[in-house]
C-alpha cells in the first residue's frame, strides 16, 4: 500500500489527474497530514506528531471482481425493488380502496400504501448508500477550504456596480424619496403588530380564571345531557359528572366547561370530615368538587367508591374525599375546590355559590 504521509502519492491504481488537485478553491489533495499554520497559535515543540490517516485498506469489491459484480447486482436490485414498491403502492391503492363505513378497509388501504411507498423510498436510499460504500471511490481524501475573499478585480467591479446603481436611481442624491421610503418600510409591519396583539385575551384573564359559571341557585346537571339531578338520584357510592345548568347553550361552552366541570359523589355522612364553616356545603353526604386538578389542570375523576380516593391520571396526585379532597399523594399542592351545594324547592341539587377559590392550577396573581 502507498504511504500517505507525503501528500502526493496516489494510492495504487487509482488515477487522479494532477490538474484536479490544483484547481483553485476546490483543491482535492491526497491525504495530507494536518499542519498547524505558524502564527495562528503557539507551536509547541513537544507536540504530539499528527499520525495522519490510517493506511488505506482495500475493500472486498476492490480486490475481487466477483464481489464487485455482486455489489453491482445488489445495488441494481435495490433500485428495482424501489420501482416495484412504487408500482405496488399505486396498484394496492386501486385494488384495496377505502370503503366508506368499513374501518377495516381504511386499515388495509393505509397499510399496503405505506408499505409500497416505504419500499419505494428505502430502495433508493439504501441502494444509493450501498453503491457509494461498495463501488464508488473508496480512498480517503482531504478537501481544503477555499478563501472567502474575492479577487481584487471582482471587488472593484462590485463597487462599480453599486456606484452606478446609486447614480442611476439617485438614491443618495434624492434624500426626500429615500427618507420617505425608509419611513414607509418601517411602518409596513405595524398592521401585523395591531393584528397579532388582538390574539391576546380581550379581557383581563385574572377575573376569568377566578370565576366559573356557577352561582347561587345554578342547578347541577348531568354531563352531557344537561338534565338536572335530584338529590335522591345520587345513591351511596354514585359518581355523577356534572356541568352547570345552561352550559350547553353557552357560546363558549368548552371554555366554561373547562372551568366549571364538577364531580358529584355521595358518601355516608358519617364518613365526611367537615371543617368548620363548611358544614352546609354538602347535602346529606352528597359532595361536589371541581374536576380540574390543582396541579396542572387535568380532569381528575378516577373515583374509588370504597377508599374514597380520587386519582388524577396525569401525574398520580391523589385526593382524599373523606377529608375535603386533601392531597395525600402526588405533585398537587392544594385540595380540590369544593362547590357548596344544597337542594331547591323541587328537590334538585343547586349550587349555593361559585367556588370560593379559583379552580385548577396555580397562576400568576392568584392569592391562595
Amino acid at each position: 500500500m502507498a504511504q500517505h504521509d507525503d501528500g502526493v502519492a496516489t494510492p495504487g491504481g487509482d488515477p487522479v489527474p494532477e490538474a484536479q488537485n490544483t484547481a483553485a478553491g476546490s483543491a482535492i489533495q491526497k491525504a495530507v497530514p494536518y499542519e498547524v499554520s505558524p502564527g495562528t497559535a503557539v507551536v509547541r515543540t513537544d507536540n504530539i506528531p499528527n499520525p495522519g490517516f490510517p493506511p488505506h485498506r482495500e475493500r472486498q469489491t476492490d480486490l475481487d471482481p466477483k464481489k464487485d459484480k455482486r455489489a453491482e447486482r445488489q445495488v441494481t436490485s435495490l433500485f428495482y425493488l424501489s420501482i416495484v414498491g412504487s408500482v405496488f403502492a399505486v396498484a394496492a391503492y386501486i385494488a384495496f380502496p377505502i370503503i366508506p363505513g368499513d374501518m377495516g378497509s381504511v386499515r388495509l388501504n393505509t397499510l399496503l400504501l405505506g408499505l409500497g411507498i416505504t419500499l419505494g423510498l428505502l430502495g433508493i436510499g439504501i441502494g444509493a448508500v450501498h453503491w457509494a460504500k461498495q463501488l464508488m471511490r473508496g480512498d480517503e481524501l482531504v478537501e481544503s477550504r477555499h478563501g472567502t475573499r474575492g479577487s481584487d478585480t471582482t471587488r472593484a467591479r462590485a463597487v462599480e456596480i453599486f456606484t452606478l446603481g446609486n447614480q442611476e436611481s439617485g438614491f443618495g442624491r434624492r434624500s426626500l424619496i429615500r427618507n420617505s421610503l425608509i419611513g414607509a418600510l418601517v411602518l409596513t409591519p405595524i398592521p401585523a403588530v395591531a393584528l397579532f396583539r388582538d390574539l391576546a385575551p380581550a379581557e383581563d384573564p385574572v377575573p376569568l380564571l377566578q370565576h366559573t359559571m356557577w352561582k347561587k341557585g345554578t342547578r347541577l346537571t348531568r354531563d352531557p345531557s344537561g338534565t338536572p339531578i335530584k338529590a335522591e338520584d345520587v345513591t351511596i357510592g354514585s359518581a355523577f359528572h356534572v356541568i352547570p345548568e345552561g352550559l350547553n347553550d353557552e357560546e363558549d361552552r368548552l371554555e366554561e366547561k373547562a372551568k366549571a366541570a364538577v364531580l358529584l359523589m355521595r358518601l355516608k355522612p358519617e364518613d365526611l370530615n367537615v371543617s368548620a364553616g363548611k358544614e352546609t356545603w354538602n347535602y346529606d353526604g352528597i359532595v361536589a368538587y371541581s374536576k380540574i386538578c390543582t396541579h396542572v389542570g387535568c380532569p381528575v375523576a378516577l373515583y374509588e367508591q370504597q377508599t374514597h380516593h380520587l386519582l388524577c391520571p396525569c401525574h398520580q396526585s391523589q385526593f382524599d374525599m373523606k377529608h375535603e379532597a386533601k392531597v395525600i399523594f402526588g405533585p398537587a399542592k392544594r385540595p380540590l375546590p369544593q362547590l357548596p351545594i344544597t337542594v331547591d324547592s323541587e328537590g334538585y341539587l343547586v349550587a349555593r355559590s361559585d367556588f370560593h377559590e379559583p379552580v385548577g392550577p396555580s397562576f400568576w396573581e392568584r392569592e391562595l
Partner: protein, 273 residues
C-alpha cells in the same frame, strides 16, 4: 181532574219497571257471577303452574341458601349482615351477585388490593341459586333485561357517555388502567354485555355506582353498543400496542424507532469491508 191525568203516568211507570228496567242488584249479581266464574276457571287452570314456579323458586332459594352458607357466609355472615372480612350483602341485589360470582371475583381467592377475575367457581345453575337467594333476602338491582344487552343501540351516543363517565379509569379504548395502591380498572375487551351492565348498575368494589337515574338503561345499552363496536372493529391506526397510550407507544418508538435510526447511522458511517 187529577185522576185521569195521573193514571196514565202510573201505568207507564209500572210498565217500565216490569219490562225495560232491571233492578240495580241484578247487574251487581251478574258481575259477581262473571268474576267468580272467570276467577275460578283461571285458578283452576293455573294453580298447578304457579305452584310449580313457586316451588322451583323456593327450591332455588333453598339451594342458594346452602351454597351461601358453605361458600360465602364466612366473610359475609350467615344472615348476609357482613363481617369485618366482608361487606353486608343485604340489598346488593341479584345483579351484583351474578357479576361477582360469574366473573370469578367471588369467592375471593386471596386478600389483595382488589378481587381479581378468574374462572367462575360455580355452574350457571348454582350462580342462579345464589343470586336468587340473596335477592330473596332483600330487594336490590335485578338481572338486566336481555333486550338491553344486544348491542344494537346508538354507538356514538354510547361513546360520548363512555368518554365522560368511564374512560378516565377504563381508558378510552376500554383497555383498562391503574388506580391507587395496586388497584386497577380492568380491560373491557371481551367482557359480556350482561357483566358490563351489572357492573355499571351495582358498582363492584371501587367502581362508582351508575344507577338508572344517572345513566338510563337505554344509555347503558348504548355504552354496551360502543364497547361491542370496539371489540368488533379492528384498530384503524394499525398495531394498537394494547391501546395503553404513551407508555407502550413511547416504549415502542424508543426501542424500535430510535434503534432503527441508530442502526442506520452506524451502517452509514461504518467503513465498508
Amino acid at each position: 181532574m187529577a185522576k185521569p191525568t195521573k193514571s196514565p203516568v202510573d201505568a207507564r211507570k209500572a210498565r217500565k219497571a216490569k219490562t225495560g228496567r232491571r233492578s240495580p242488584l241484578a247487574s251487581i249479581a251478574l258481575i259477581a257471577i262473571g268474576l267468580v266464574s272467570t276467577g275460578g276457571a283461571y285458578a283452576l287452570f293455573t294453580t298447578t303452574a304457579s305452584a310449580d314456579t313457586t316451588a322451583a323458586h323456593s327450591q332455588l332459594v333453598d339451594d342458594g341458601s346452602k351454597l351461601f352458607a358453605a361458600n360465602c357466609a364466612t366473610c359475609h355472615g350467615l344472615n348476609l349482615q357482613g363481617t369485618t372480612a366482608g361487606p353486608s350483602l343485604l340489598g346488593v341485589g341479584a345483579a351484583s351477585v351474578e357479576f361477582q360470582v360469574a366473573t370469578g371475583r367471588m369467592p375471593l381467592a386471596q386478600s389483595g388490593p382488589q378481587a381479581e377475575e378468574k374462572p367462575a367457581q360455580f355452574t350457571t345453575e348454582q350462580i342462579k341459586a345464589l343470586y336468587t337467594y340473596v335477592a330473596a333476602r332483600a330487594p336490590g338491582p335485578g338481572i338486566p333485561d336481555s333486550s338491553l344487552l344486544q348491542g344494537d343501540g346508538d354507538a356514538s351516543a354510547g361513546a360520548e357517555l363512555f368518554r365522560i363517565n368511564c374512560a378516565m379509569c377504563h381508558n378510552v379504548a376500554g383497555a383498562g388502567g391503574a388506580l391507587t395502591e395496586g388497584k386497577f380498572a380492568p380491560a373491557l375487551k371481551g367482557v359480556s354485555a350482561q357483566h358490563i351492565y351489572e357492573a355499571m348498575l351495582t358498582g363492584p368494589q371501587n367502581m362508582p355506582v351508575f344507577n338508572n337515574n344517572n345513566i338510563s338503561p337505554e344509555d347503558k345499552a348504548n355504552i354496551i353498543t360502543y364497547l361491542k363496536y370496539l371489540d368488533d372493529t379492528p384498530s384503524v391506526g394499525g398495531l394498537d400496542l394494547g391501546n395503553l397510550g404513551p407508555v407502550s407507544e413511547g416504549l415502542f418508538i424508543w426501542i424500535f424507532g430510535l434503534g432503527a435510526i441508530v442502526a442506520i447511522t452506524v451502517w452509514l458511517t461504518a467503513k465498508s469491508n
